[in-house]
């Protein structure tokens, strides 16, 4: 359970995971922000206004899955580093996961890194397919890794 050990359980995660047909259509964000905290930078980060808050700033962000283009601009803006973009349409059997990364060294495109699950357990080697780290992201790099499709909601961090 998230509130006891910091690990989001599959049941806790399910409301923020897009339905299978949306996942099949290509990149989409998964906002793993499951608590009413006063925070809203993701709302203004979204260029297509797909992220909404019902009552206001202390609500959880709600993602309109069909509006989301999976552009990933919200990823580095989240102070909780809780936004991921998954692409199930990558190659047959493989998907990608994009995530924030604020450690050293920053990996390079093509580099092999260790994939970690939500508990920090090593779940194998994966390849970095994209690194976006412009000055505007202020030292929060967005790293995209290639993962087996069945691991797309399990892998949530990397060790370089």
């Amino acid at each position: 359970m998230l509130k006891n050990d910091g690990i989001i359980s599959p049941e806790e995660l399910s409301p923020v995971v897009p339905p299978a047909d949306r996942l099949a259509r290509g990149p989409v964000a998964i906002i793993e922000c499951l608590q009413d905290i006063p925070c809203d930078p993701c709302v203004s980060a979204c260029p297509v206004k797909a992220i909404k808050m019902k009552e206001g700033i202390t609500d959880r962000p709600l993602l309109e899955f069909d509006t989301c283009t999976g552009c990933g601009l919200c990823i580095p803006k989240c102070p909780g580093l809780a936004i991921f973009v998954v692409n199930m349409k990558h190659t047959p059997g493989m998907a990608t996961v994009s995530m924030s990364y604020e450690q050293l060294p920053v990996p390079e495109k093509g580099q092999e890194v260790t994939a970690l699950d939500r508990s920090g357990k090593d779940v194998g080697k994966v390849k970095v397919v994209r690194v976006v780290n412009p000055p505007g992201y202020d030292h929060t790099a967005v790293i995209t890794i290639e993962v087996p499709a069945d691991q797309v909601n399990n892998i949530r961090a990397i060790r370089v």
């Binding site: 006891n4 910091g6 206001g56 202390t58």
Partner: protein, 365 residues
């Protein structure tokens, strides 16, 4: 030597800088003193992006917010004097105070004072809690993020509030191995996104656990943990030995209130706000009408709300001297609305209760 000012601000953290900026911008001659080498308070060690509203600094790192506040006060430098390495050491009658720099003791006469002294870190009772290698979370941040020195190689964090979780993440960024986070409560205290962030980097979070003792003779070599029951009593035969070379305590803060007591402001104990705080109204005015308060000294919260309360105090202190001002009123109205929003929702519940208790005491609620 003596100095004369209209508004006297004590403490150059987010609250004090904001208060001084607003008071000087509105037109008051302002003096700000801070006992550290560089203003910015605890913001200068915050490498993480702040939560809150994107209208006010959310998504920006604390260090960047400190730079913004420092630029703000540059803008009003014709009316604002800033003295670093200078501590306010006494409040006397007739709107007088004493300040001590490394060179001299000086007398300050003022018309309104805004006291933003912040807070001090709590310790925790356990065997050997005085060993070298046991540091406060703020101390660890200072060492690591201001001076560029790691506290050690392997560290145990005690406390899973936001400070414990955030400092754990900062330790990982600095290349320190965090061997675990210990929390007496059955659930994590801070924001869960912060907890997930360190958990997926492999840091175990030991909820319903306590630290029984620190191991080592001249310095920390490890820690003995134990499970606790629902009454927070250690459960026998659940001891767990962890190897580490330092232990970081993130077990809360207590408002720094000595100056209010010297000035004979009425104090009130509010657990939700971290202990004894000066009684104050929604203008941040204490029971001594010339003395205002803002930031953690008025109750433990965080930097964004400290900035907003500082703005209110700065505007009201200006009005105390120069009379009603529509600009001051607008600053207060805007800050109040932002504070209301930030403190709404379930995570702001304890703060709301605490704040309401203070306002009830002064008859405003």
């Amino acid at each position: 030597m003596s100095r004369n000012t209209e508004v006297f601000v004590i403490g150059g953290g987010p609250a004090g800088l904001s208060a001084a900026h607003v008071a000087a911008k509105l037109g008051a001659k302002t003096l700000l003193v801070d006992d550290s080498a560089r203003v910015g308070g605890q913001l200068i060690k915050q490498t993480h992006r702040f939560f809150g509203s994107s209208n006010r600094d959310a998504g920006i790192r604390g260090v960047t917010i400190a730079e913004k506040l420092q630029q703000d006060i540059e803008e009003v430098s014709d009316r604002l004097t800033v003295l670093e390495n200078t501590a306010a050491v006494g409040f006397y009658h007739n709107k007088e105070a004493g300040i001590l720099s490394q060179k001299a003791y000086e007398r300050v006469t003022y018309q309104a004072a805004i006291v933003c002294t912040g807070a001090t870190e709590n310790s925790l009772a356990f065997d050997n809690n005085d060993l070298p290698g046991i540091y406060g979370a703020g101390g660890v941040q200072t060492l690591m993020n201001v001076h560029g020195i790691r506290p050690g190689q392997k560290i145990l964090m005690v406390g899973s509030g936001n400070i414990g979780l955030i400092v754990s993440y900062q330790l990982i960024q600095a290349g320190v191995e965090v061997v675990g986070v210990v929390e007496g409560m059955p659930t994590i205290g801070g924001y869960l996104v912060h907890a997930s962030k360190i958990r997926r980097l492999g840091v175990p979070i030991y909820t319903s656990h306590t630290i029984l003792k620190a191991l080592g003779s001249d310095g920390v070599t490890g820690a003995m943990l134990s499970r606790v029951d629902e009454k927070f009593q250690p459960v026998p035969n659940t001891e767990l030995e962890i190897k580490c070379d330092c232990i970081c305590l993130a077990v809360g803060l207590t408002p720094l209130i000595d100056l209010f007591q010297q000035a004979q402001c009425r104090m009130v104990h509010v657990g939700e706000l971290g202990g004894l705080v000066p009684l104050h109204d929604s203008a941040m005015r204490t029971t001594n009408p010339d003395i205002f308060v803002a930031g953690d000294a008025s109750g433990i919260e965080e930097a964004t709300t400290a900035i907003l309360a500082g703005r209110i105090a700065g505007a009201r202190a200006y009005e105390t001297i120069h009379g009603k001002s529509p600009q001051a009123e607008a600053i207060v109205a805007e800050a109040r609305e932002e504070l209301r929003t930030l403190r709404s929702g379930s995570t702001g519940e304890r703060i709301r209760w605490g704040r309401e208790r203070v306002l009830k005491e002064v008859g405003e609620c």
